[in-house]
């Protein structure tokens, strides 16, 4: 069963008298364990597509299914809960709660899931060790570098045991070394844990590592290529 599936997905914006079709009838299927990059220039509809897949926006036509469940008809509150249980997010910036430490940030997601304190601490520590931050558990975001913050965000995204991780320009603010390091970690998690990653990016460094590259233009899929590394 595919993790993400869209049917004739459509998202139309009304800008004054102008109707903009940001996403125009996209059929897409992403299977478990994929490491996919959605690319395209600004205004191509890539971000809109990502928001629809991530349950942050609602389609005006067609539907999105995550792990077999159609999320297009969920209410706002149901959608929040669905995101919590099924999708991990890594954003470009403002990923973390600045007043919480690294480990508390990762725990926070599990707290929302009402996991026990012991389990929260155990898994959060484990995940932070996995992203190489075992010695930074009690540092607040302000005390971490940009790369380290993004690694905490990855750990946080994985904490809820999601069906897939959606990463929106995760490397935009990072230098080459941090980018390589972050991508290494995500690639390893993909390889070892079979975790599905979907990126929206125009960072060549990310595209180079992706196993599938979907190019979006004018709200449509222009090309969909699988790459063997």
């Amino acid at each position: 069963m595919p993790v993400i599936e869209t049917h004739n997905l459509e998202r139309v914006y009304q800008d004054g008298s102008q109707v903009i079709k940001a996403v125009d009838g996209i059929d897409l299927q992403i299977d478990e364990g994929e490491f996919t990059a959605i690319v395209g220039p600004s205004g191509s509809g890539k971000t809109t597509l990502l928001n629809l897949i991530g349950g942050l926006d609602k389609p005006t036509g067609g539907q999105v299914s995550i792990a077999g469940e159609n999320i297009s008809d969920l209410s706002d509150n149901q959608m929040i809960n669905f995101r919590l249980e099924h999708i991990g997010f890594v954003f470009q910036a403002y990923n973390l709660i600045p007043v919480l430490t690294a480990v508390e940030n990762v725990e926070f997601i599990m707290l929302l899931q009402k996991k026990s304190k012991v389990e929260r601490r155990r898994r959060a520590t484990q995940l932070l060790e996995a992203v190489g931050l075992g010695d930074r558990l009690d540092k607040k975001p302000g005390e971490l570098s940009g790369g380290q913050q993004q690694r905490v965000a990855v750990a946080r995204a994985l904490a809820s045991k999601p069906d897939f991780v959606l990463a929106d320009e995760p490397t935009a603010n990072l230098d080459s070394a941090s980018t390589a390091n972050l991508l290494d970690i995500m690639a390893r998690l993909n390889r070892e844990e079979n975790m599905t990653f979907v990126f929206a990016t125009h960072d060549q460094r990310v595209i180079d590592r992706a196993k599938r590259i979907i190019t979006v233009e004018d709200g449509k899929i222009k090309s969909d290529v699988k790459v063997d590394h």
């Binding site: 509150n77 929040i80 995101r83 709660i97 600045p98 007043v99 997601i109 929302l112």
Partner: protein, 405 residues
């Protein structure tokens, strides 16, 4: 829940200066509210106490016709029965009876209408405390035809200790009676009106001047405390149904009203202060929400429910207010505790105050329940102030909130 509170608490301190300014303004606002209220309430309470002490007493007993017609004839019949009952009553501290006559006092330099009060000086001690209010002279002594007058009256008559004055009144048949008295004491009353109104002489001197038998017009008593007044009054009414038995707030309703009015006023003042403070809180929290748009958007994106976002902002507001509120109340409490025992001296304005029946030294006072009431109001204010910023937070759209880089 506890993590939510922890986040809320830490969020308050992200902008330390801003939060401290709000907290400080809450402290100052509540403190000044509590103090102003303590001051007004203390002033009013003092006025009530002093008027009761010097003029009204807790309970007065008169003939039933007296309140309509305070005439020499409307005397309390067989007062001994009542006084002996009262003297043995465990809830009664002091009893005195008085002859009350309206008349004129005159000296070589002036005259004025007065209420001549015939007293038994030794019985007045626990009641009016007149002896303590003397600023000059002594409280009667042994010689006959001595009179105690107020400072304002002494000034009007240009009388000093030892001066001769004449009091004039009529008996029950309308015969004018005059008697010469020597000023032996001058008292300071709660108000200059009272000082001009009341003069005190011995009952036995009055009885000698009158060519008729006279009992008394008034039996005044002090109970062991304000809270006993009602029960003693009821008991007396049952035991002596043919007399007019009135409590202080029935004799002088405006004093009782002032008490009730004051309580309402106090809450109105505190309410206005809180309203002003709440605008500051709303403003601060709104800033805190709007500058954290992206962070709040991220929280909603990763799965924090609207309910939780709402309660986080609610907790932040509540804690911000609760940092200041209790401190303000505590500061107010200690200020009132201190000034309540040391008093605030308003001698500079005392002349004005005194003519309103107020003492120049004010002892602020507030009922303990008022502090709890204020505390509750702080919580209510905090909750109400949090609603708007919290609602604003909910209206944020996670996509827009994150994607504005």
């Amino acid at each position: 829940m506890s993590t939510l509170i922890k986040i809320a608490w830490r969020n308050i301190w992200r902008n330390r200066l801003r939060s401290l300014v709000v907290i400080f303004s809450i402290i100052l606002g509540i403190w000044s509210g509590v103090f102003i209220n303590g001051f007004s309430y203390g002033l009013n309470r003092q006025r009530t106490f002093e008027t009761i002490k010097s003029n009204l007493s807790h309970i007065q007993i008169h003939d039933t016709a007296w309140s309509q017609d305070p005439n020499i004839e409307n005397q309390v019949l067989s007062p001994e029965k009542i006084t002996s009952f009262l003297q043995n009553h465990p809830q009664v501290n002091a009893v005195a009876n008085r002859i009350l006559l309206n008349g004129i006092i005159s000296s070589a330099n002036g005259s004025g209408g007065v209420q001549i009060t015939g007293i038994e000086p030794e019985k007045e001690h626990g009641l009016t405390g007149l002896a303590d209010d003397l600023t000059q002279g002594e409280f009667f002594g042994e010689k006959k035809n001595r009179i105690v007058i107020g400072e304002a009256m002494a000034e009007k008559l240009k009388a000093r200790i030892g001066s001769k004055v004449v009091i004039t009144f009529t008996d029950s048949k309308g015969v004018i009676i005059s008697g010469a008295f020597k000023v032996v004491g001058i008292y300071k009353g709660v108000s200059s009106q009272l000082e001009q109104l009341k003069v005190y002489v011995r009952q036995r001197d009055l009885r000698k001047l009158l060519n008729e038998e006279i009992t008394v017009h008034e039996i005044a008593l002090m109970t062991t405390g304000m809270e006993m007044v009602e029960s003693v009054q009821q008991e007396l009414q049952q035991k002596f149904p043919h007399y007019d038995i009135q409590s202080w707030d029935e004799i002088s309703p405006e004093l009782g009203y002032a008490d009730e009015l004051m309580e309402t006023m106090l809450y109105i003042i505190i309410g206005i202060i809180m309203l002003a403070l709440s605008f500051g809180i709303v403003n601060t929290m709104l800033m805190a929400v709007l500058e954290r748009k992206k962070e709040l958007g991220m929280l909603m994106a990763v799965g924090m429910s609207k309910k939780r976002v709402f309660s986080m902002i609610l907790w932040e507001t509540l804690m911000l207010s609760l940092c200041g509120g209790p401190l303000g109340i505590l500061l107010g409490y200690f200020t009132i505790l201190y000034t309540g025992s040391s008093g605030i001296n308003l001698t500079m304005f005392a002349d004005g105050l005194q003519s309103f029946g107020m003492s120049p030294i004010v002892y602020p006072y507030i009922e303990i329940s008022f502090y709890f009431g204020t505390g509750l109001l702080v919580v209510v204010m905090a909750l109400l102030s949090s609603l708007y910023p919290a609602r604003r937070a909910l209206k944020l759209n996670p996509v827009e909130a994150i994607r504005t880089i």
